[in-house]
Subunit: 323 residues, 2 copies
């Protein structure tokens, strides 16, 4: 309960009621009891382990209200968590939303946020099973997603071995290209097909790969290829070499943005050279972009440039584009 | 990743490293994999269901930095979630912390917050298994606690039946009495024994009651007796009558604060008249305060005052004390 800003109690009750209504739109049978008691109760399938991930979405940090519609913010908020479940090869079951809203925010904003979130939840059979509400200075959404995976089958970041090949799903750099335009002051109307405004988490591809026991390691591309491939190298104790010519750069983007831009929410994975990786999974392209090598203390990642020359690829991330 | 406030990226890495270090202090064997991959992996005990609860703690809403030490804020943050697990009769396994900090907050504050949180986590064997960090305008902590309970045994709010007796653990009104003094401008040094600054969640009592199949319904007293008993009445479709003379009012408090003050984090439960409820569970007093009656559309809760007269008890909550 809000103890200091007491006028908000009534507004919170209204918000909780609205969340409950949205929660009814998508059910998952693993949820024995959703909103309405001290805790939600989940019953995962027999022989499965639970996956848990939490992600903040904070106004002016992760989104801007003048750039992102409420529907896009709600969608992106849940997509981040679902993408983490995808990266383990898991199946999402339920989500929990802690939502802090400024007292003066129009109720319509909250409704459209919940619409964006629940449309995505519904499309993957995820139940909104609980959460909390509060007053806050800026819009603050914390999403927790609980998923499941057969025991022992979760795909970790730590299984890449020297000699493995490196793959990505989809195309890279599209989200960063949009963000760059927004930062440059261009007005862009959020469209459903946009990888920046409405990223589709690669749940089907992730689960398909795990079911076929193909990836030796996997991660989702949230921070950018140069950073996220670095995580795999660090956790697996290996290095990587990627080929600039092979990177699937999105049509609206550039190689630089594809290498360092975040929020593509594609999957990056490694697999044995013997593994038969299809060219597409459920309509999502899969591209071989490089290979894993032994640990290299000088540089975790090297890239073969367009002229075939190898150079170190620093984990720059988005800050690279600022200057 | 923070995409707009790029100078924070380094500060966040430091914070994540600190959280990782605190996370190592308390382990739970249900946590197969904690911080360090896309998701945490949990393996609940066979035949158990999962309990999930999330609670916001926001600066100037749930606490004030001039009143509450960082250790108290960290402790209270986790205690809220653990208390929800207690109210289901569950056993906590892991917690997940999303922590938003103002860029100018001293690092010491974050450290002491984590100390307060991890000391409580350790005392109940709860592992900090994941989370997220971000910049934020005010200190914003969202805690998610995952626990387990044997399948079908979780104690709900909805099982109270007419004729049942109503019980509470511990004493009531102490936290609100402290808050009232703080609001009146008194300086109070947070001490470990304080129910306001360092509430001890009633996990042992809740699990004991559930193991002995005693409660027909249970809730934790976070919003205040008049509100939380109202939740039981609503979910169970019953009414309640309580006896003012029986309410275990804390020494520093008043009947009014015991009835309407929040954040006592004691357990409120109902049990059959035939159930043998002990006078104390693990050193925590248990008091019979009233009984459950059939649904009454005029008032969900009635109270017998000191003169034995029954009157309706409105679910006032904390706002009652403001005027």
């Amino acid at each position: 309960l809000v103890i200091f800003e007491l006028t908000l109690v009534a507004a919170e009750k209204t918000l909780i009621e609205r969340i409950r209504r949205f929660a009814l739109q998508s059910r998952n049978r693993a949820v024995v009891r959703g909103i309405g008691d001290d805790c939600a109760i989940l019953r995962p399938s027999r022989g499965h382990e639970l996956l848990v991930t939490t992600d903040f979405s904070i106004e002016d940090v992760h989104f801007r209200r003048q750039w992102h519609t409420a529907r896009s913010v709600g969608h992106r908020c849940l997509a981040r968590g679902l993408s983490d479940i995808a990266a383990m090869g898991g199946e999402p079951l339920a989500c929990f939303l802690s939502l802090g809203l400024p007292p003066k925010l129009p109720q319509r904003w909250a409704d459209e946020f919940l619409q964006g979130l629940s449309r995505l939840a519904k499309s993957y059979g995820v139940q909104l099973a609980g959460g909390d509400v509060s007053a806050s200075h800026k819009v603050t959404a914390d999403i927790m997603v609980v998923g499941q995976v057969p025991a022992g089958e979760a795909v970790l970041r730590s299984g890449a071995r020297a000699g493995d090949l490196i793959y990505v799903t989809g195309e890279l750099g599209s989200s960063a290209a949009t963000l760059k335009q927004l930062l440059a002051g261009r007005k862009i109307r959020p469209s459903i097909g946009s990888r920046h405004f409405f990223p589709d988490p690669r749940l089907n591809a992730g689960a398909w790969l795990r079911r076929h026991a193909l990836p030796t390691s996997m991660i989702d591309l949230s921070d950018g290829l140069s950073i996220d491939l670095g995580h795999i190298c660090e956790e697996s104790g290996v290095s990587a070499i990627i080929d600039a010519k092979r990177i699937p750069v999105a049509r609206n983007s550039t190689l630089d943005l594809a290498l360092h831009g975040g929020e593509d929410y594609e999957l990056l994975f490694t697999a044995s050279v013997k593994a038969r990786i299809p060219a597409a999974i459920g309509g999502i392209k899969v591209t071989h972009i490089g290979s894993v090598a032994k640990k290299d203390y000088r540089s975790a990642i090297r890239i073969l440039d367009e002229n075939g020359r190898a150079r170190a690829l620093r984990p720059l991330g988005w800050q690279h584009f600022r200057a």
